[in-house]
């Protein structure tokens, strides 16, 4: 079967979802259905999907999720972050496992399926339906999610922890969350999106997150992807920034059989800045793909990007970082760096840091390296009696820690560091050291 035939198959599977919700929403969804039908699933001839073949994913049959009880699994996978907590089991909001606590004035955190009308002016405003076939599919048939709405000057001290858990189902499930963050003038918040699941979970998560920052707003976003080794995960994060706003993204990609993360940032007014941090670690036959795009649409905007990758076994990593400086967007600083370690001869990395510049008063740079650990650092450790395997392990972990150490929430920092250490080859013998 061809990709377009699969597209049709997918469409008929999600059709029941399209008619859910109020009238304006079904209209919006219907439009997205048409978009998906024309655009279809992405194929390898598209430059953006050159290294990631979704055919294996397209072939699979998915059903829509049903409510299941997964209290134990949720507790086991939780990062135990202090603060607000919203739990989604197979993409559906689970009120009994969640804790919305006391919200400060001007802050609204609403599960989306039951509060769709509240999101009328937000939904689809930042993420274009035609970004990719998957974005269109999500808009057409998202099932649940959350709206985080911060009024002007509202400050949320504690992070919002969004826990998504996939259960092991007989029939693979199509999980489509939609996350909407709207920050008013000078509003501040931290949001954690955490994806994990049962070891046998083999579903497909198709996530779209939209973030809208008004003047002076500050949002810190964590994306922690620890899905099972059988799970497919495709996500896109779309950010739109106004004057003097700051967006920080920590993107940790550890799980999934095939995982694809897109990040698109629009810097629309002077003083807007964005920090993009990322770490991907592949084992087995994992395929991990990260694509970022920063559009400098206004003068005096800055972007900083630092992505690191470790690839073991037969895993494959893809990194594509693109910074575009548009005409008349002068006084720009855009810096990008991507470093990779290959731990096995069967692993592969395909990286492409791109700069596209149409203004002259800019300072832009990018660097990308793929190589080995520093021999002198290795020697220094060995001269202190640490065996070679462990020395390599420590240095590899230190490499990852350059990204992990920028995680500011202690619970998250420690557990991610532990998870990374746990996923490094056993011969490194790091157990008990972290």
């Amino acid at each position: 079967m061809s990709l377009s035939e699969y597209t049709d198959q997918w469409l008929s599977a999600v059709m029941p979802q399209v008619s859910e919700g109020p009238g304006w929403l079904t209209d919006l969804r219907q439009g997205a259905v048409e978009q998906f039908a024309t655009q279809g699933l992405p194929h390898a001839r598209l430059e953006n999907w050159k290294y990631t073949d979704v055919k294996a994913l397209a072939k699979r049959d998915f059903s829509l999720p049903k409510k299941v009880d997964a209290a134990e699994l949720v507790a086991e996978k939780s990062l135990g972050v202090q603060g607000l907590r919203l739990v989604f089991v197979d993409g559906l909001f689970s009120p009994e496992l969640s804790d919305l606590g006391d919200l400060p004035k001007g802050v609204n955190v609403l599960p989306l399926a039951d509060n769709a009308n509240a999101a009328k002016t937000v939904l689809g405003q930042v993420a274009a339906a035609n970004f990719s076939g998957f974005t269109a599919l999500n808009l057409a048939s998202w099932q649940d999610g959350v709206l985080i709405d911060l009024a002007n000057n509202a400050v949320l001290e504690q992070p919002v922890y969004l826990q998504f858990v996939s259960t092991a189902q007989e029939n693979a499930v199509l999980i489509q969350p939609r996350i909407l963050i709207k920050a008013g003038v000078h509003a501040q918040a931290t949001v954690i999106e955490h994806y994990s699941g049962a070891e046998e979970a083999a579903s497909f998560s198709n996530v779209v997150t939209e973030v809208d920052l008004a003047d002076g707003a500050r949002i810190t976003h964590y994306k922690l992807q620890q899905e099972s080794a059988k799970q497919y995960h495709v996500a896109s994060l779309h950010v739109q920034q106004q004057r003097d706003s700051r967006f920080t993204s920590h993107n940790i990609c550890l799980g999934g059989k095939l995982a694809r993360q897109d990040i698109q940032v629009e810097l629309n007014a002077e003083g807007a800045e964005v920090y993009l941090d990322g770490l991907y670690l592949g084992n087995g036959r994992q395929h991990l793909d990260n694509h970022t795009l920063v559009n400098h649409n206004a003068p005096h905007t800055n972007s900083n990007e630092d992505y690191k990758g470790i690839l073991n076994d037969r895993s494959r990593g893809v990194f594509n970082g693109r910074a575009v400086v548009h005409r008349n967007a002068q006084k720009i600083e855009a810096h990008q760096s991507n470093a990779n370690l290959l731990l096995s001869d069967k692993a592969e990395i395909d990286t492409k840091p791109e700069l596209e510049i149409y203004a002259d008063d800019v300072k832009c740079s990018h660097g990308s390296t793929t190589g080995q650990l520093d021999e002198s650092a290795l020697f220094a450790l060995r001269s202190r009696g640490i065996d070679e395997a462990m020395a390599r392990g420590l240095l590899t972990l230190a490499f990852a820690n350059e990204v992990i150490d920028r995680i500011e929430i202690p619970e998250v920092h420690d557990q991610i560091e532990e998870a990374v250490a746990g996923r490094l080859p056993e011969k490194f013998n790091l157990k008990g050291l972290v």
Partner: protein, 480 residues
């Protein structure tokens, strides 16, 4: 620098714009099997060559025009191009310079290439290509003594068919890409170099290309083979006269380096870039590739690209032999409405292979320039090493500079580094020069030349001087 001043400076005229009036023999525009047969017959080619051309033409008809490059130009009408033009005097070729059509010599004089002087002084042999047919070859005898074959590709097809058969199309296959296939079908002439085992070519070989007849495409074919332990340095330079119609130039260059061989290929490209509005100018769609077949072999590309309206060119190295080395040094200058999408591919196949890429792009006026490169390390390329640096300098706020470096690495012992920067000329650098009494124009020139130094120092001496002058002319106006 005030923008008005800048604008004034950006205006410059193409100094080498003139058309020499020599009667040319050309076929009417259009492309079909008859044209290919005509070209082949004109060149007195054996049947196998004609068959090869026709097969390529069949392939080409199946292929689609490539759209991936970051360039924009009106669709090329392949039926509106004439595929063959030869200076009339080709029937009875001159044996020495004295017999050459004085008008031709005058043309070269205007270009600032005093052939005899240059040949004598620099010890350079030139296989000059005027439009499509080789006009004169110098120092042939001296090369013959050393056993080096340096002749036009047409001559090589007739005189050395076994060598041509063995190597032609072996580096760039007929189906490699749209323009390579087209070249295979209609190539009119080009150069052939064969350096036998253990021979160090006694002089630098040089070819000057020049498109001259109106509306003719130039389809050059170059093949250089270096046997075991052989060594050669080859220079290619081009200029073209001013005219309005766009001209298509689709060359193919193939290099083969066997064990311990060393090939250095240098280019100065200064085809007519079109006027300030982007009218006219050459379309330069070139496929250049070298294969390091033997262990410890080396291929080095150096290019200075200042001309052409649209450039699409990626001199590449396939590093098959153990410890073979590939190098790419490039300075590309675009001004006015010029567009260039250029870079290189380094394919690491063998163990211990090393490659270096240094690319300097200078973008001025309303031009657009992209570096597009691929570094691929295959699983077997143990200990492969690559270093890439590509820097862009922007002059004026209407130009664009882009970098698209692809890296595909499948070996854990490989070490690959890529660095890129984009900026304008630093105010502090300018200030530093100015406060020492250096004029703004001179200061900018100095800074730009310094920016390109890493590449210029790779050029053969006499070329480096020319390149520096060319750079100043190209940016005359834009920077000084």
């Amino acid at each position: 620098m005030a923008s008005q001043e800048m604008e004034q400076l950006v205006r410059r005229e193409y100094k080498q714009g003139f058309v020499t009036d020599i009667e040319t023999e050309m076929v009417p525009p259009g492309l079909n099997e008859d044209v290919i047969r005509f070209i082949s017959a004109k060149k007195d080619e054996p049947q196998w060559m004609l068959d090869w051309r026709l097969a390529a033409f069949e392939q080409w008809k199946q292929m689609e025009h490539p759209e991936w490059a970051h360039v924009n130009f009106p669709e090329v009408d392949f039926q509106a191009i004439s595929y063959y033009a030869a200076p009339k005097s080709s029937e009875d070729k001159p044996k020495s310079l004295d017999e050459v059509d004085p008008k031709l010599l005058e043309t070269y004089e205007k270009l600032g290439i005093p052939l005899h002087e240059r040949a004598a002084l620099a010890g350079v042999a030139m296989d000059m290509v005027f439009d499509s047919v080789s006009v004169t070859t110098t120092f042939k005898e001296k090369l013959g003594e050393a056993g080096v074959i340096f002749c036009s590709i047409s001559e090589a097809i007739r005189e050395h068919p076994e060598l041509v058969k063995k190597y032609l199309g072996s580096v760039v296959p007929v189906t490699d890409n749209f323009y390579a296939a087209l070249n295979c079908a209609v190539f009119s002439d080009g150069s052939f170099v064969y350096v036998p085992k253990g021979v160090k070519c006694p002089m630098e070989l040089s070819t000057y290309f020049r498109i001259n007849a109106e509306n003719t495409g130039q389809f050059e074919r170059t093949l250089i083979v270096c046997e075991e332990g052989a060594q050669v340095s080859y220079l290619e330079g081009c200029t073209a006269p001013m005219r309005d119609e766009n001209q298509l130039h689709a060359a193919v260059v193939e290099l083969v380096a066997l064990e311990n061989a060393d090939i250095k290929y240098s280019t100065v490209q200064n085809w007519y870039p079109g006027d300030e509005e982007g009218k006219g100018g050459i379309y330069n769609f070139v496929t250049k590739r070298g294969e390091c077949r033997g262990d410890n072999s080396k291929i080095s590309w150096t290019q200075v690209e200042t001309g052409s309206a649209v450039t699409w060119k990626y001199p590449s190295c396939v590093l098959k032999g153990k410890n073979s080395v590939g190098e790419f040094y490039s300075v590309a200058v675009t001004n006015n409405m010029q567009q260039a999408d250029t870079g290189t591919k380094m394919i690491h196949v063998g163990e211990g292979t090393r490659s270096t890429i240094i690319s300097k792009g200078i973008s001025a006026g309303r031009s657009d320039q992209s570096y597009r490169g691929l570094v691929k390390v295959l699983p077997g390329a143990k200990g492969a090493r690559n270093f890439t640096q590509c820097d862009s300098l922007l002059i004026g706020d209407q130009c664009g500079a882009h970098t698209f470096p692809y890296q595909e690495i499948a070996n854990s012992t490989a070490q690959v580094e890529h660095e890129a920067t984009t900026s304008k000329i630093g105010e502090d650098q300018l200030f530093y020069c100015r406060q020492r009494g250096i004029s703004e124009e001179d200061a900018v020139n100095m800074i730009v030349n310094g920016f390109c130094k890493d590449v210029f120092k790779e050029l053969p001496m006499e070329f480096a001087v020319e390149a520096e002058a060319l750079l100043n002319v190209s940016l005359e106006g834009a920077v000084g």
